[in-house]
């Protein structure tokens, strides 16, 4: 077994120097309780069976791995497969983690969940699982994001969740997480914080990764069945990085497979114009290791340690920090990260719609745009899986306006 599958096993929650637990003391005992509950659940066949049953019968797993024939022919580069997480119930991979943590909340006897959401996909997934499991649900969402993802706000409310707009800071994902943490710290005895990405304090980055690792396990079986060989490259977009780590995890030990995470390059390389934390080589400025919202990782920030504003056309990628495991995979050169612009992502979305009949989420469009940018580096023999982490219904206003 490669050491890469068990980073820093001596220190749970650490990925090399990254990760850890940087929270107000009030949250420490609840995090320890969550860690114990998760470890026990993981080892419990009843929990696993329930999780797998809901993934299959409620969420719609397994998702197809689809050969993108017309897209491959058009690009005249590698052979491209799409992992169709967009076909899941609620429209994105986020439901995998929401089911896992929802079951955990029930197991811990917490009648209420709080969640943050950027694009609204995690909020919808959380509201959906809360309805299914009979939990109370409050979702925090920046008012800037509520405006650009209005459809998802309506969905959450129809599912019975309370959606609270967050007016502070940049009124996007980061501020929604702050507010969800404040709610959690206040109601911690009755409430589970259903964090939606591989961010935050231990055990979240590990736990959320584990709940999404089904993506990579399925993809590996499916590509072997279809092509009788492993892929040469995996592409996924990276905001916090949950769909990317979900796809990558199963393939980490095989160093021949290139793992590529695509960040949001926004509208420029200056601090404030982008959300690229690991793309300094392309000139994106302002990222250094630091502590934000419970974890030590690469953070976009000013020289004196204030967290910077970010921009992306995609609400789900518009966040100043990256999951700590990605920071470590980048340092170790096990995965590569680069950024594409808003414009490139929009063009990729249009191309996928026209050639394959799939309107992807703006987030997922970044993954495809990253592949297109690197097209000259591929040979005909390369075999690529692109994670289509979500569908584009929620982005139709943006597409209609900008395309």
């Amino acid at each position: 077994m490669s050491s890469l599958t068990q980073p820093a096993a001596a220190v749970p929650g650490r990925f090399g120097p990254y990760g850890g637990r940087y929270v107000p003391e009030t949250l420490m005992a609840p995090l320890e309780e969550l860690e114990r509950a998760y470890e026990a659940a993981k080892a419990d066949p009843v929990f696993r069976a329930e999780f797998e049953s809901l993934l299959k019968n409620f969420a719609g797993r397994p998702t197809p791995l689809q050969h993108a024939g017309r897209l491959s022919a058009h690009l005249a580069g590698p052979k491209i497969y799409l992992k169709r997480e967009d076909l899941l119930h609620t429209g994105a991979h986020k439901i995998n983690n929401a089911i896992g943590q929802g079951l955990l909340a029930v197991r811990m006897g917490k009648p209420r969940i709080v969640a943050e959401t950027g694009a609204g996909q995690h909020g919808v997934a959380s509201a959906t699982v809360a309805a299914k499991l009979g939990l109370q649900c409050t979702v925090y969402m920046g008012t800037e994001d509520m405006a650009r993802q209005a459809l998802n706000v309506a969905r959450m409310r129809m599912l019975g969740a309370e959606v609270i707009g967050v007016e502070s800071g940049s009124r996007t994902l980061k501020d929604a997480i702050n507010e969800a943490m404040r709610d959690w710290v206040t109601n911690v005895r009755t409430t589970h914080y259903l964090l939606g990405s591989v961010l935050g304090a231990h055990p979240y980055p590990t736990m959320v990764r584990d709940f999404h690792s089904i993506i990579g396990r399925e993809a590996k079986q499916q590509i072997l069945a279809a092509e009788k060989r492993l892929p040469t490259h995996l592409y996924a977009c990276v905001g916090g990085g949950s769909n990317a780590i979900g796809l990558f995890h199963e393939f980490l030990a095989d160093r021949a497979i290139k793992l590529v995470g695509i960040e949001a390059g926004g509208r420029g390389t200056h601090l404030g114009e982008h959300a690229a934390r690991l793309a300094a080589a392309q000139g994106y400025s302002g990222a250094r290791p630091g502590v934000l919202q419970g974890t030590y990782t690469y953070v976009l920030q000013t020289a004196d340690g204030q967290i910077a504003a970010t921009h992306s056309v995609s609400a789900g990628l518009d966040y100043p920090a990256i999951g700590p495991e990605h920071a470590w995979l980048a340092d170790e050169k096990r995965a590569e990260y680069s950024a594409v612009s808003d414009t490139q992502a929009l063009a990729a979305a249009k191309l996928l719609a026209r050639l394959e009949g799939i309107i992807p989420a703006l987030e997922s469009a970044h993954a495809l745009a990253g592949l297109i940018e690197r097209l000259p580096q591929f040979s005909k023999d390369d075999l690529v899986i692109v994670n289509i982490s979500g569908r584009g219904d929620k982005d139709m206003d943006t597409y209609a306006r900008l395309l």
Partner: protein
């Protein structure tokens, strides 16, 4: 291990004096740089003059997850005015030119981390700070931080919470010097009407593991709260109530006068003990 400073800092000295007089202390929190560092200098001197025992200077941070709306808005105002950690350290230096009140820097971890632990500890000690409390740093992640701050004679104050297990309280006590900051209730900072009923039991659990003075904060705003804490805590921390005075005042002069009046009322309650039937206006 360096523990000698626990006996010699201004903080330890002040708590020893309070104990000798049988008096409860008042720890006053204000956000540095709200609305300017010059104004904060004036406020600190006014609070000290009016009887505050310890001043906590909040270092503004863009993402204050442990704070309620009052201090969030103060942080935003301070950042807008250009306050930085380096600026706050310079403010400490200026306070020290005329005032010997114990000073604690109250910060989130990232600004300190970006300055660098060594550089921060050296600068804070040279400026005349006595202790540091980092809201989002717990004993588990703090080994380097404690070693480096202790080497400069700075007290490291950690938060204890109602959710902390006895095992955690012992760990927190072992990592702290100067005093212990006990959070009165689950939640963020901000003024409240009533104090939680389980507070005495929580204080007893903390006393059982540490001889350090205990300051109780979060939700303390009124002289009535202070008198209830008499006999329970060594000090009461008042923050959002003071920050509100600053936000309300039309001029820095008016704010300084309002802070001084508030502090005198709180300190009177701490000295004498007041009736609990005070109205919450």
């Amino acid at each position: 291990m360096i523990t000698a400073n626990a006996k010699t800092t201004r903080i330890a000295k002040r708590f020893a004096e309070l104990r000798a007089r049988g008096e409860m202390g008042i720890v006053a929190y204000i956000t540095a740089g709200d609305p300017s560092l010059d104004a904060t200098l004036r406020y600190v001197l006014a609070l000290a003059e009016a009887g505050a025992d310890v001043i906590e200077l909040g270092v503004p941070f863009s993402d204050p997850v442990a704070d309620g709306p009052t201090i969030q808005r103060a942080s935003e105002r301070a950042l807008k005015s250009g306050a930085t950690l380096a600026g706050v350290l310079d403010l400490v230096r200026r306070i020290r030119q005329t005032c010997e009140i114990p000073l604690v820097l109250f910060s989130y971890y990232n600004p300190i981390l970006q300055m660098g632990l060594e550089k921060f500890a050296a600068a804070a000690a040279a400026a005349g700070a006595d202790g540091v409390l980092v809201t989002d740093l717990t004993p588990e992640e703090s080994a380097d931080y404690r070693r480096i701050l202790a080497a400069r004679g700075l007290d490291t104050i950690f938060l204890a919470a109602p959710t902390s297990t006895d095992e955690r309280l012992a760990k927190i006590a072992a990592c702290s010097s100067g005093f212990l900051y006990l959070i009165s209730r689950t939640g963020v900072t901000g003024a409240q009407e009533a104090l939680p009923e389980d507070l005495p039991a929580l204080v007893r659990r903390l006393r059982a593991v540490s001889p350090l003075p205990i300051a109780i904060g979060f939700g303390i705003s009124l002289p009535g709260h202070v008198s209830i804490l008499g006999g329970l805590a060594d000090a009461a921390v008042v923050g959002s109530a003071l920050v509100s005075e600053i936000a309300k005042a039309a001029t820095p002069e008016a704010a300084a006068a309002a802070l001084a009046a508030r502090m005198r009322a709180l300190k009177d309650a701490a000295r004498r003990g007041l009736s609990r039937r005070e109205n919450a206006s």
